[in-house]
Subunit: 285 residues, 6 copies
């Protein structure tokens, strides 16, 4: 009985958090270890289910993780390069799309639905959700890699209205019908901005932004956009963390209230970030 | 962190319960110790808030507890009797109504609203919710004691639709506008039946129905209506427990799916009854 | 037949008035003799019923009249004073609330419902309708006397939408859940302003504003806010009439189109004021 | 003042009538003297306006009165006959339609709108409201005289929904697009039945059904369908009254709750019939 | 089969046109030969039916064509003149209204309904759609000739919402209930502007605006408002074409996107103008 | 001009067909040559676009055609057999799903969207649309081949409501989350039945049911279910045609009004079947 009462108290503690998130929109960029480790994956899905059940409008955007390269290997598609940059030719794009929209996307849908909630997997091509154009980098044509020109939220809105959890594969189309692979982080930012989301959560394989990467106690829980820019300037944020943090800055500047980098390797990381005072990762606002 | 993760797991365990109660209607007859002990009262309100937040249409029906007699004493209104039965004359009825609709009802509203949710206190007279008639007992006129003839759920429905928690004082009116005091247990049964509620919960000062009142291990967790009738016949259910159990039988026979007797003295008794496998009281179905 | 035809003509004369009030919102501050004399009270309720039936969104705000003091006496609660000002301590507040929300409020509901229309009695605590704070007068703490900080019209709107006549007791709460007694005139002004009402009617025990209180023919039928301010300045409006007229000025300045002071002692005073060319009281605009 | 109060009392007396008719549908067959005498006409329009304003869904069906023959004369169209029965050839039908749909219909609309309410004049051809077929009498082809096969209430319903008073000219069409003149009494019965109207009122030039036509005191205020049939059988109802009463019987048997024959020559006859205990004409039920 | 496939290809070619007009509002001023020649009339109705079926909100405004004079003749009403200008006295107005609202209007309704679609014929008096005032020309009172003061689109909107094709006779009323004959071209412009129509089409007896009236190859397919004004100035647009083009200019300046003058004598002229690249008449924008 | 007018006439001929299909639901099983030949494919998409634009609720169900085997080959997945029947092991299923949901499904979506209409590609797993179970054939476990237990049309309905064309890959899930390959014809039948579709169209590589397969003039345009059963019995329908016809029978018996087998190799075959008197294939009813 004692134990049951303690559990009840945990639920009661959640009341203020539930109250503040009901009816809000949260976009989750789901990727990294949290997509691979099946135990962690299940917990992530549970967190998502719980948010949905307490009335959060939750939208998932996923990447392709290691699956795409595995499939390209298996189909003996040789990677091509121009001046050192990888090129996505049409053969590669076909495989990328099949893996993203036909495998990973539907697996996530399935994992959510195992918990009894309804999910619908779409790609950015469906309902003309993501309008893209070829991304030129230093004047080089890298093939079917695209950047987002416009987000049409009509389909996502109607899925949310009918109680579904939309799961979005980062694939877009241009007005002539060409298909593009889109960076999942950028897709998440664009979608969150278009939906006027309250929160955007990046599920990653790092703990968040560290003052000193060597010092595990130096996690920065909360950062303003100005601080984030300073820390990039100062070199405290560096390497692969820079584009991630730039996405966070971009999202906040596009009107998303708070953006979070969390460690997908931690059990129930989503819940802990959002339902505890300090969270477990870094929050940008 | 460990502790936080454990708390997250408790929330996750709640998912199937939340799923099965979203959109359902639960009527709670609130009375006894749970109305008096301020710590227990707060927990009861927390349970109610949680149910509301996860999408349960919750309706409270309350009694008058010890407050009515205290007020009658204070105002020196002498109790009257006919052949041993107490009579509610118009002076008494005036006080009863003031205490029920003006004091207890508004206190409960206030207690819920302290948690940030909106509640509206009504009496059965408002919106012609409870149509009553004079209750005759053995041919004796006991004054303004009424039984329910009809429930108009229009007002309660519109309060639920606009996100309020309706709190109902057990006072009714007849078609000529006379005011009647109504037994709160009966009022709760009638309202639950009229709302086609999934659950009706009686918050009481006993643990539930016991096979042997002397033996604390003999609690009966689940009973059918047939079993309940048998146990009354056999004398296992006796004394003050009989009318309570008869209310439970009545509610189930009127279409309420499950009816619960729980011990309001236990912390978070509502939550424990509904969110655990066996519950903590007696469930009738 | 002749007589019937004349009656028909009276109904027909009402057409332009009905046309101009359908769909409009009228707030009535109901108090004074019109609450005590049972014949006058019945006529007032008839007027209100008629307005409701022809499509006016009518909202009643009532005071406590002589009932509160009678009850305080009967319960031997001694009035307390600070520097000559009466203090509402918690014992007093408890009685005030019981009388307002549990007695007068429900009586008015009952009186309206006798005419076959549905009414719902709420206090300003219900649905967090009236958010109040402690009113400090000359730096003195007068106890649980409050002023209105904010009106949440959600509950009143949903009652109007579902065809109910809302009857409001002037009791509010602060964000910590303390209960306050609120001047009914002020409550009516705040509610009318928040509802963007077309009309606010004060039912009083005077005929209206008189040019000369001694001269019964000197009633002023129509006044602008500027004129009202001048007449206070000039001393023509004086004594107990000043706060009443200040309420009218306040309401007009808050956006209420017209504000009326009428004499509740006159039969069908509401109807006469609103359905005749000149009215019977004083109209401010 | 006295006089004003008396007027107020008349309005108050109307409360129960207003309550019982709000939201109900009343079809009025408007014809006879009430269409010609301009003072009587104005009063009829006032009655209709009042019913609309208190929430009655009112629908007018009108006939052509003396205007049609006047116009046929003026245009020198010779009446044709087959075996003594008048034939409506296409030339005649053209004039009939112009007068009904283009003159009388729009005049009634105008008369109602003078009172500030919106009306829309349609013929039974509009929105395919009245589907007709050629009426054969004793095997004779009388030209464009039709009987109603089906009523499509879609257009009338949408006019009522948008607050208009529909005014219907008794002209129908068959499925090939031929236009037919339809007896206005029959059209009113069909429309009332299709709308599931509560009341159908025939405005006529007689007082109602008399026990003895010579005796002005012998008006029958209320008749059952069975009684009506008996009185036709017995010859008490005779001559031109028979088809009128048969329409009443037909309407009641088609589900209209009450059908009334009233004397359009009496001022405010509609109001008197519906808003007084006994009415002024004959009611069938 | 070959032939069927070719027909299918024609339908497919229509796709982009259908896409661009779905949900748009098109007002058609229908008059001239297209109202008289029965074969041409049928094709015009087919065009209108097709537009309705593919989701265009189509509204017809018609004139009186030769029918009015014919009827005035037949009824021996002598035309009256003041200083050479024709006067519409009340006798004339009565006939004008009967012909417009009772004959032509209902014939068009009938013609559309023969194709299986629902139409409703109204005059500008119905639902107070066209509020007019007496039109004074050079200080002369020409009787019941009116200009439009205000358009209330409520009735037309509700007819469109319920799937009807509104057919409007150009008759208006002033606030005292006087009836006025209104120039149908002006009525169409006012209605198109009030409805914020995308297109206004004038069905006429000319091919459009010609650079040189003698040269059949000189049709101007597209004109800006500025160009139109220049061409009037330069005398290229002259005679009876001037008021027509001024209507087009007026409509474009009132917010109608494109205005068309088409030749109603050409088969399916509406369809050809709107569903071909260059159209067949003159488009103003 | 002549040519344009002829085209207009073709559109006009379509009016009765458009009228009879607006608001109806048509399910198309899309497969065979019509999926491979790019010119034919484009025409099929045009037909679908046209149906959508004229107000048909169109739903596509597609198969995998030759693409699946090509991909299995390319990935060197060896086909497995049990007693001569092919087994779908989990490796195969993974590829099947990727090709169906990630390649073909999204290509169809893209092809439709090139015409400017919005489409959304889902698999039967999304929104729990197709609940399946393992299909046992003669007691043999063929792996992840499933039959449909239940169709939840919620997602398809909400896509239709928001103007999307749903494109469904025939993949289902059981309640434990296992994924199954489902015969596309069966999926189409189940979906059409669940949607209460008016029409189900099978796009195939045959002309329809032939009385004599050798005689190209012996196509049967219309068959009752009884006739179809007879012709199977008699051996006139034989071989691969039997399961196809059984699907048609099944659909009609499940409430689909008409079921069509059409030849996808014919240009605009959908349009020809539905918009011509006799159609081009075989219709079952």
């Amino acid at each position: 009985m004692e134990q049951h009462i303690n559990k009840a108290k945990v639920l009661i503690e959640a009341i203020p958090y539930i109250q503040s998130f009901r009816g809000k929109t949260v976009v989750v960029k789901y990727g990294g270890s949290a997509m691979v480790d099946s135990k962690i994956k299940e917990m992530m899905m549970q967190d998502i289910a719980l948010f949905k059940l307490i009335g959060v409008n939750i939208v998932l955007v996923h990447g392709g993780g290691p699956f795409i390269n595995k499939m390209l290997d298996r189909m003996s598609i040789e990677p091509k390069f121009i001046e050192g940059l990888r090129v996505t030719d049409s053969d590669t794009m076909e495989v990328v799309e099949m893996v993203l929209s036909g495998k990973i996307n539907k697996e996530i849908v399935n994992d959510i639905q195992k918990l009894g909630l309804k999910a619908t997997g779409i790609s950015g091509k469906d309902g003309m959700t993501l309008r893209a154009e070829k991304l030129m980098k230093n004047g080089l044509d890298l093939g079917y890699v695209g950047s987002i020109v416009d987000v049409d939220t009509g389909l996502i809105d109607s899925l949310l209205d009918s109680g579904q959890i939309p799961v979005v594969a980062p694939v877009g189309r241009d007005s002539e019908g060409n298909t593009y692979n889109i960076n999942a982080d950028y897709a998440a930012v664009s979608i969150a901005a278009a939906l006027k989301a309250q929160k955007l959560v990046f599920v990653t394989d790092v703990r968040g932004v560290m003052e000193d990467v060597e010092n595990p106690d130096s996690l920065i829980s909360l950062m303003s956009v100005a601080q984030a820019k300073d820390k990039i300037e100062e070199g405290i944020i560096s390497g692969g963390m820079i584009p991630k943090v730039e996405c966070c800055i971009d999202a906040v500047e596009s009107g998303v209230e708070t953006v979070h980098i969390i460690d997908g390797r931690v059990e129930h990381s989503m819940l802990l970030e959002i339902f505890t005072q300090d969270g477990i990762g870094t929050m940008f606002k």
